[in-house]
Symmetry: C2
Subunit: 229 residues, 2 copies
């Protein structure tokens, strides 16, 4: 039903599509689904859905993501609007893209299978429908920009992580390598890591200490931290 003063204007469908990044300890990944519905059945795409009349756009994005991943507290922010006229092969649809970061872990496997979803290495992305590859590209750039100034990297790591894992993550984000000492020095100097008395023993004999990201401490220091990395 259209509002009175606006009755002569066109309405369109609004999609919310999420670019979901994850990190497996070595590589950055994006979560895609193989569509088992129309249109573009059997092709790869981002996770998405339509905004309903009775929900906000942000709520729609959250709803869709929760439905498709089974996860409820996902880091998520609006990325951009994609509004080209023929971007969707099946009709006029304007998409609002969302940028999401999740902690990959094992027990979500069933959900992934249920929805035909798969994690893809960022440089092995398959052909995708519509302008989804462009969305992914924009999201990747956003990740680099954002991760430089804010501590969003921790959203991709388990609660407890080692310094090596943290460094691997940033190296994956920026597709480069950092000097270990400089990296450690810098990240520690921010004063937002909390060292645990517990070691990760899988990847080395010596074992490396786990750390936590101290969010409260970060909040306190936030105004002094212009650059995260």
């Amino acid at each position: 039903m259209k509002a009175e003063p606006y009755k002569n204007y066109d309405t369109v469908l609004i999609a919310v599509d999420s670019i979901i990044f994850g990190f497996d300890g070595v590589k950055l990944k994006a979560l895609l689904i193989k569509r088992n519905f129309e249109p573009e059945t059997n092709k790869w795409s981002l996770m998405g859905g339509f905004v309903r009349a009775d929900e906000s756009v942000d709520d729609a994005a959250t709803r869709v993501l929760t439905q498709l991943t089974g996860l409820s507290d996902i880091y998520m922010e609006q990325l951009a609007c994609f509004g080209d006229i023929n971007r969707d092969s099946a009709g006029r649809v304007i998409a609002i893209a969302y940028f999401a970061l999740i902690k990959i872990d094992d027990h979500s496997d069933e959900v992934l299978q249920q929805f035909n979803a798969r994690w893809f290495d960022l440089n092995k992305i398959p052909k995708m429908i519509f302008d989804h590859k462009k969305m992914l590209q924009v999201a990747r750039e956003h990740l680099q920009v954002k991760a430089a100034s804010q501590p969003i990297g921790f959203e991709l790591l388990p609660k407890k992580f080692t310094l090596s894992q943290l460094q691997n993550l940033y190296e994956a984000i920026y597709e480069t390598s950092f000097d270990k000492r400089n990296f450690t020095r810098k990240i520690k100097s921010l004063g937002v890591l909390q060292k645990l008395n517990e070691k990760e023993k899988e990847t080395s004999r010596k074992g490396s200490f786990y750390y936590l990201f101290d969010k409260q401490q970060y909040k306190k220091l936030e105004k002094d931290i212009k650059k995260f990395i």
Copy 2:
């Protein structure tokens, strides 16, 4: 007309609303209109309109801005989507906000009058409809972030400008003051200003040289310039 596979989904109206900044040499301003149409007649709002079925969202924003300002080459970029369910008092409308920078100059006065538009000092913004003040706030923050890394400030200045004008602009954007020598040195060191042999004589007896922004030179150096200011 809805596309077949999507026929069970809701459609909505899409507005494009532009936050337009200008600089009068001293202060940053935003361009608002006093609405002479429904809804919310006689209240202040951003310039906006609706996306038509036969145009892209970006095109709609450009069209609306051109109609309302009479200007055709305006710096413009997408800012954000505002999609709360009751944001518009007259119905469900999702807004895509655009960020625009224009060079204030005299000969657009007629257009301003025609559309009931007025430039407002940023700390004297009147009450605005819907969530338009929030949009303005987001745009202001975006201006600060963006101006730090890219030379968008020149979009707000006349083609020929003095170093003082340039400094005043950045001081207005960041609501602070800079040391004149440091500012000049930094901006000159970027190598994108072109000094003219012509002086502005209105504001001082000595007169100060005009400069141009050398866009081509900037393009060449772009990759080396991480931070503009």
